[in-house]
């Protein structure tokens, strides 16, 4: 019997859990998988430091102060939204990173001139 993995991609934190047997009978059947740092949740943050690497989670959050324009957080709010939407316009006022309009009208993120979609880029997958 295969195992089922559930991912909660949250605006602020994300969490991964596994169900090891068919049929959830109680909360004991669901086990949260800790990340490499041993934490049960991972901040939904991705950082692109000048070194060119990509930082995810707690590590990305720790460098946010030094690299605000290239540190993306709360990107879930942009997923599947149009750039013109009022809440996106509000998010643009609040976010330190640059939110831009993609060719299809969606709200994307500009990282050093490179446009990235919150949905399709590897970023969304690296957030989980």
């Amino acid at each position: 019997m295969g195992k089922v993995i559930g991912i909660d991609l949250g605006t602020t934190n994300s969490c991964v859990a596994v169900v090891e047997r068919p049929g959830v009978l109680s909360a004991n059947d669901v086990k949260v998988i800790p990340n490499a740092e041993g934490a049960r949740t991972t901040p939904s943050v991705v950082g692109f430091p000048p070194s060119g690497e990509r930082l995810v989670g707690q590590v990305a959050r720790r460098q946010a102060v030094t690299n605000p324009q290239q540190t993306v957080y709360a990107v879930k709010r942009l997923m599947g939204r149009k750039f013109d939407a009022t809440d996106i316009q509000k998010q643009i006022q609040l976010a330190a990173y640059e939110i831009v309009q993609a060719d299809n009208g969606d709200a994307w993120v500009n990282i050093r001139g490179e446009l990235r979609s919150p949905r399709r880029s590897r970023r969304s997958s690296s957030l989980t």
Binding site: N28, E37, G38, G47, P49, L55, V59, A60, R62, Q63, A64, V65, T66
Partner: protein, 189 residues
């Protein structure tokens, strides 16, 4: 077994009969081996229930064992730290009557040293921060300041020390990171 021996003994007298007897014996044996489906199902069902119950008990037990191990681990650490607390209490008591503040400070410093010894015994190491290049794997940036004498990306101050436990980060060091010189400033060579 004894029947078989008997059959072999009779072979000389009546080979055909012996053969017939052998066949019928084999048939009876096959009949015995064919299980009664209902009984077999009941047997397997019983086995499954027992295994499921065993597994459930095992899960409960391993959870309990995990909690116990967690508790024992904490106990070990706390035991190592209690002497430090004892001495801190003694220092506070002594400070009430002491006339020389320097002597009290010296005593507290000794307690700190003892605490450092306890941490070392546990394998906990302090993270080097000031002067090192900022590394988000070890440091948490809380401020980004211009600095005339440190290049960008170097840790200027440590606000709160960080600690590592083996390969694992216990707590990141809270640091202030250099932005490099302000416009107009020249970095001394």
């Amino acid at each position: 077994m004894s029947e078989e021996t008997k059959t072999t003994g009779e072979t000389d007298k009546n080979p055909a009969g012996a053969e017939a007897q052998g066949v019928s014996a084999a048939e009876t044996k096959a009949d015995e081996q064919k299980p009664d489906p209902a009984a077999e199902a009941a047997r397997l069902r019983d086995q499954l229930l027992r295994t499921a119950a065993d597994f459930d008990n095992f899960r409960k037990r391993s959870r309990r064992e995990q909690d116990d191990a967690h508790r024992r681990g904490q106990q070990g650490v706390l035991k190592d730290l209690l002497p430090v607390f004892d001495n801190l209490e003694r220092a506070a008591q002594a400070a009430e009557t002491a006339s020389d503040a320097k002597a009290v400070a010296e005593g507290v410093r000794m307690v700190i040293k003892q605490f450092e010894g306890a941490l070392e015994k546990l394998g906990i190491k302090r993270i080097v921060a000031v002067g090192a290049p900022f590394d988000p794997a070890l440091h948490e940036a809380i401020q980004h300041l211009e600095s005339a004498d440190q290049p960008a990306g170097v840790v200027l101050f440590e606000v709160q020390p960080g600690y590592a436990w083996g390969d694992q980060l216990l707590r990141a060091a809270m640091v202030v990171v250099s932005k490099g010189p302000a416009k107009g400033d020249v970095l001394p060579s």
